[in-house]
């Protein structure tokens, strides 16, 4: 029946659009994290210099930088995903309870990054790499278990790269160089992963013939 053929083809269009929205949300979030977090860390580690230049107490500079980094990062990521999930979420997700996967992933990232505060000072930047590696890996696992969307291998590869980068950073003895390398590795991994996701989002839009 022609009408049914039309419906089936239209369903394919809808699925590709949802795939595009999902990947675009991840892409934007990864780029935001890769840009904002290292920037915040640079300000925090150079708080004494900023305090000297501005005349503001160094601890206050650190506190404000830390708060702004968290607020901007989480705010941007939450806004991006909320916009995508509001469009993507299906009736079946609500029935099966798999709409909780978004909350689970947010919790995983929050807990992972919160745990970095327990790390000794000399391991702060390495713990950042570990936390993000763990968060990426658990996000991949949650997506695979809930079957909400095709688990994105880019997230898994990002987890592995961040883990490898942490080993590289640990191998560097000089504290300044290892700190800079750690931040650079974190930033590059996230931003490159974000751009790959964006490219995949654009490919998802295109008709597969």
């Amino acid at each position: 029946m022609e009408a049914l053929d039309r419906v089936l083809e239209a369903l394919d269009v809808v699925e590709r659009y949802e795939d595009y929205l999902f990947r675009r949300a991840w892409g934007r979030s990864l780029i935001a994290i890769g840009t904002l977090f290292p920037l915040g860390m640079v300000i925090i580690t150079n708080a004494d210099i900023l305090a000297y230049l501005t005349g503001i107490d160094a601890n206050l500079v650190r506190l404000v930088a830390y708060a702004m980094t968290i607020v901007l990062c989480w705010g941007l990521v939450s806004y991006t995903f909320f916009g995508a999930w509001r469009t993507i979420k299906k009736e079946s997700d609500r029935r099966e309870g798999s709409s909780l996967h978004g909350v689970l992933i947010a919790l995983v990232w929050f807990v992972s990054f919160s745990l970095t505060s327990l790390a000794p000072e000399q391991l702060t930047l390495v713990s950042l790499l570990w936390a993000s590696s763990l968060a990426c890996f658990l996000s991949f696992v949650i997506l695979r278990l809930t079957h909400t969307h095709d688990p994105e291998r880019v997230i898994l590869y990002l987890a592995l790269l961040l883990g490898l980068a942490s080993i590289l950073v640990l191998a560097i003895e000089d504290a300044t160089i290892s700190g800079a390398t750690g931040l650079l590795a974190f930033s590059i991994c996230f931003i490159v992963a974000g751009f790959i996701m964006h490219r995949q989002a654009a490919q998802a839009l295109r008709v597969s013939r």
Partner: protein
């Protein structure tokens, strides 16, 4: 009468006939579910040229099913939206399509 039923089992209205082409049906279906989408995303999703998509959108706009508007973003964007009339027309169409399928007797589905 049977002949006309076979030719047009859904008894389509003027508005419903407009989205009987595949691209227009996909546009209306997508907008029914998502309410709005960018022109560029729509063009890529359907694999149409800008002129081709524009032609289909004009047909839908002529019968009041969709509308396009420019939004200000970091670059000018054209967004296509479904109208309230478009939502109701499409919903009625899908309800009639579903009831047409439900009219198939069970014994025909499970008879070997």
């Amino acid at each position: 009468m049977v002949g006309s039923l076979l030719k047009d089992p859904l008894n389509l209205s003027k508005e419903e006939r407009v989205f009987q082409s595949q691209p227009r049906f996909s546009i209306v279906y997508l907008l029914f579910l998502k309410r709005r989408i960018g022109f560029i995303q729509l063009k890529d999703l359907l694999g149409l040229t800008p002129g081709n998509l524009d032609h289909h959108l004009k047909k839908l706009e002529e019968v009041g099913l969709t509308r396009s508007r420019r939004v200000l973003s970091w670059r000018p964007l054209v967004v296509v939206e479904i109208t309230q009339e478009g939502i109701e027309v499409f919903r009625n169409y899908i309800v009639r399509l579903k009831s047409l399928l439900e009219g198939i007797p069970d014994k025909l589905l499970y008879d070997k």
